[in-house]
Symmetry: C2
């Protein structure tokens, strides 16, 4: 048959022939040189060893979310345009991948929150509230390509949605979940910085600044621009010296709950919204103490604002202590109403999101990842006998023993076969020649130590488990 193109079947004379469904397939081999085989710009793709590590990450995250009772959902990547655009705005709108098929205007989701809002609004009569859902899936943003930014990336979201109301203790559940997840990903020391939007807006209300939103915007970037620049920008907004001092002082308040509350009370502002925020902060702190979250893993910090405008209560960001340059690796907070224009019932919620693709890419670059223990197989069977069928019997027995078993079935010399085992990163080779077949034994080779032992299959299983 020669070497036909994947999509082109040829007869012996080399002419194309009709496909089975009667359509004429045509040979596009002439295009060979022109096709760009790399993935689209900004879309991540991993080689197998890295992918195995990433799969492990996804599994850890998913299992941790499950341990806290978050149930998985999976919505389509494509949504109606009207759904996504009801919730998008400004920059986000420009970044949306849109398409039309037939009469339907669609778009690729840019986050997992809008799909959650639609899902909850659509199925509210069939869901159990508070609804604790996890969703680990791809989202799309046509951002300018730059380092650490992806146009297709996996987010790992966990949210708790109440119907009508949602107790503040749930905020602590989400914060504790972040801590457990980051611990299990083994990324070193981390700190969750916690604030409450009512404290921020209450404070601004109390000091009576003219344009709350503009000051909020400045506070949000205060850490980035530094104190001098912050003061300057605040003066452009016509805040007087006293106001500027109060704002810069506010932005520096951080510490334990008690310390932060004392500092806030010392400002001597009697504003109900601020007081409400302080109470919520204390509720969350008490719950975090009860959950025994270590004090080194969280801090209350008035500089945390969260750029998104829908948060209305507790807000938080997470930083790796040894890699502060990464910024927040996991943030979230409390919002007043998830469903908004999608429904009439008010649905408050609290949630968090990890940008898993980005975090993994950064962790690879900073060498924060554990050394790979993951391999495509635990054992690779290497036949030295011509009797492949006898060897397949052994392969099957190893798999029945729940060992992840691969077998090299190509004709090749021993060197090439062992190179395969080595390249795969498999920890063990099971080498079988005619001699071993006769003795009903195999040679188990430990690929890292080079040690080789003659064993029967139950011994192989025992040895591998013992070293696991």
């Amino acid at each position: 048959m020669g070497a036909p193109d994947f999509s082109v079947a040829r007869n012996k004379e080399g002419k194309n022939f009709r496909s089975l469904s009667g359509k004429l397939w045509y040979n596009r081999t002439i295009m060979t040189q022109k096709i760009n085989l790399s993935p689209l710009t900004g879309m991540a793709e991993l080689l197998p060893k890295q992918q195995l590590q990433f799969e492990k990450w996804k599994q850890i995250v998913s299992e941790t979310y499950s341990m806290y009772g978050f149930t998985p959902i999976d919505t389509p990547v494509l949504e109606r345009k009207e759904v996504l655009f009801a919730k998008a705005g400004g920059e986000t709108e420009k970044q949306i991948y849109q398409l039309t098929k037939g009469d339907t205007e669609m778009a690729l989701r840019f986050d997992l929150t809008v799909p959650l809002a639609r899902f909850v609004a659509n199925y509210q009569e069939k869901l159990v509230f508070p609804f604790k859902r996890q969703h680990i899936a791809k989202v799309y943003r046509g951002e300018k390509p730059q380092k650490g930014r992806f146009r297709e990336f996996i987010q790992a979201d966990a949210d708790i949605i109440g119907r009508g109301s949602l107790d503040e203790k749930y905020d602590a559940e989400i914060i504790d979940l972040i801590a457990t997840t980051i611990k299990r990903l083994n990324l070193g020391k981390f700190i969750i910085r916690i604030n409450n939007r009512k404290i921020v807006t209450g404070f601004l209300k109390a000091i009576k600044v003219m344009d709350e939103a503009q000051v909020l915007t400045l506070l949000d970037k205060a850490e980035k621009i530094g104190e001098q620049k912050l003061k300057q920008e605040l003066s452009y907004l016509r805040l007087d010296t006293l106001e500027i001092r109060k704002v810069t002082q506010f932005a520096k308040i951080r510490g334990t709950c008690q310390e932060v509350v004392q500092a806030l009370l010392a400002l001597d502002l009697d504003e109900p919204l601020l007081n409400q925020g302080i109470m919520e902060l204390q509720t969350v702190d008490e719950a975090l103490q009860a959950l025994q979250l270590a004090q080194e893993n969280f801090i209350f910090d008035c500089a945390i604002i969260r750029g998104l405008d829908y948060y209305t209560g507790t807000i938080f960001e997470t930083q790796l202590v040894e890699a502060p340059q990464l910024g927040s690796i996991c943030g979230g907070g409390r919002y007043e109403n998830l469903v908004g224009s999608f429904g009439k019932t008010k649905m408050p919620g609290v949630g968090m999101s990890i940008g898993l693709t980005r975090l993994f890419a950064q962790a690879m670059e900073l060498q924060l990842l554990d050394e790979t223990k993951e391999a495509a197989a635990q054992v690779v069977v290497v036949p030295l006998s011509e009797n492949l069928d006898e060897i397949l019997k052994i392969v099957q027995q190893l798999r029945k023993m729940e060992l992840k078993t691969d077998v090299y079935l190509q004709k090749a010399d021993l060197k090439k076969k062992m190179k395969y085992v080595n390249d795969l990163g498999a920890p063990y080779a099971v080498i079988i020649g005619d001699d071993e077949l006769n003795k009903k034994k195999v040679q188990l080779k430990n690929m890292s130590t080079g040690e080789q032992e003659e064993l029967n299959l139950p011994q192989v299983k025992a040895r591998i488990e013992e070293n696991n």
Copy 2:
């Protein structure tokens, strides 16, 4: 704050204010009535309980593929248009979701094989061959909406790609993998029908029919149209009575490898391609015997053609014995060259694919699914004390014991709290009042039997594991 739209923050006076990034968000609440909240037509979406079952399926499939040494890859859902169109054709081309962003023409993948071909061609220097990959992911086809057809669906593919050559024994590995996977999905009796394309084309060559491709097309639908119609259609293609008899006779050959080979030899056709096919069939059969695949799970069957035109050797389809109306639930085969126009090196392969979304939907409908044992949580903690923080301590201890633990933190009466546990389908409730807090015990309630016991936490763990 009232009930602001999700994307709109308002100040106390109810006016919209600028978002933190300085953009003006506008209130789209007026659109409320018009937004269609259902997923796009033809795109599946499951409620949590079904989703938990589907997640279990994905996990079973992925773990089974891993047990055979297939390593996961994950390519972007979007591919360059030139990549997808180099491999698509006819109907498929029309079904592709296309979009343009900036200058880039893109499309959503319609299968996982074209992305595999691009991946292998692009990274061939970095991959280990034979390359055994699994890919469980979404694909997109804008088909006419009809029952059991989806426009977004998950496929679970496993392929083995050789560089230059690939031993035929690998075909048996794939067939055996199908059997193990279907067994683990617990879908009842099944049979894998196996054929070889060289036998079919060799036979047609030997009897010297004029238009091989047209006869092949007819053979492919022979089972559907029945013998009478087949004969009629063959006569339209100007086959004479003898030829027609031979073709219909051929299409009925099925049985053990030995039976099929005898029937083929009885046709007394000396055609090298046919003979080659027979040899390959025997090689696969011997390997399947060695792998101890039960005889009731596979049959050799000359009526199997596989509509796709790129298969060149072993081909197979899988049927559920108790649900033959579903047709083939898992098919695949051997192809001569995966990469085709994407590269110069010939890369033969063998692979299979399960349309997981469709199969799951069908299994639900036919009630072939196991009764759900999956629940969002194993244990739901139900507080009867006001002291939620003391209760959170217990929640944390249960989670540290690796029990999937949820807690109901809303203010509600006992009835409503127990309804939550029941609606979630959680097998156990852990009920804690002030009395239990003092005694450092909890009430463990078995939700299916209604039994309730006073236990300490290690006893809770033990009791749950014992009943698992």
